[in-house]
Symmetry: C2
Subunit: 146 residues, 2 copies
């Protein structure tokens, strides 16, 4: 139990996780929304950061797939709903203040970023400006029908 992987989808359904205050992030600290970091469970690469509200957090636990809350669209954002590049959740962690969530995920499709890079953090700050250091996995124009 202590260092195990996150149970597969379905096992977490029910009150054991979703209704226990001890396992709930402190959403009030973020006015109902908290930052959630997605990290590649195998490589450790930080893939992205987005926000979760209680509903998206509960659905993430229940389904085993990452669900965020899109601040720009003001609705649940089931990661991969358009691209098919869902994130299978391997583990969920809370920080010491219970106001930041860390997901260890398996990123289907190989890329978390809507620009086609494995990680959204594909640009490094250098004295000469921003340098693209990330790996581009897909062409966004072929994945997203606009």
């Amino acid at each position: 139990m202590l260092a195990g992987r996150f149970p597969p989808a379905g096992i977490l359904r029910g009150p054991a996780v979703s209704a226990s205050p001890a396992t709930l992030p402190d959403f009030a600290k973020g006015d109902g929304m908290l930052p959630a970091i997605a990290q590649d469970a195998d490589t450790g690469e930080v893939l992205m950061m987005a926000y979760m509200n209680p509903e998206s957090y509960a659905e993430t636990l229940a389904t085993g797939r990452a669900v965020y809350f899109s601040r720009s669209r003001n609705r649940l954002w089931r990661k991969g709903e358009e691209s098919g590049h869902v994130q299978e959740v391997q583990g969920v962690f809370l920080d010491c203040d219970a106001d930041t969530i860390l997901l260890k995920v398996r990123q289907l499709g190989g890329a978390a970023c809507h620009e086609g890079y494995r990680s959204c953090f594909f640009r490094q700050v250098t004295p000469a400006g921003l340098a693209v250091v990330g790996e581009r996995v897909f062409d966004p124009s072929l994945v997203y029908k606009k």
Copy 2:
């Protein structure tokens, strides 16, 4: 240049980085403050998440040590100022929306968390509740004089 490590402290002083809009996070998106993730540069472990304002970001680049903005204390927070456990910055990355910062750091003292754990994300969500899975490196009562 492309995949290199962050230059050591001092090299980034001056206008090349600090004054170029192309290298600045979009602080307006976060009402003047953006989330900054600190990741262990060697192990890939996600250590913590805190916030940066423009001043803390600039000081981080200039000094090569992580400086955050403490929302609770409403002032610059030079990580390690009390414990001595500073974070030497090895690289700074921006995400696709330029509203989240990723630092790759070397964590002196071995622990990023004020509770003495290597990572602030030392608790895993399990069906039975939160399980402590992190490694405790120091006793907070010996490090912080309260």
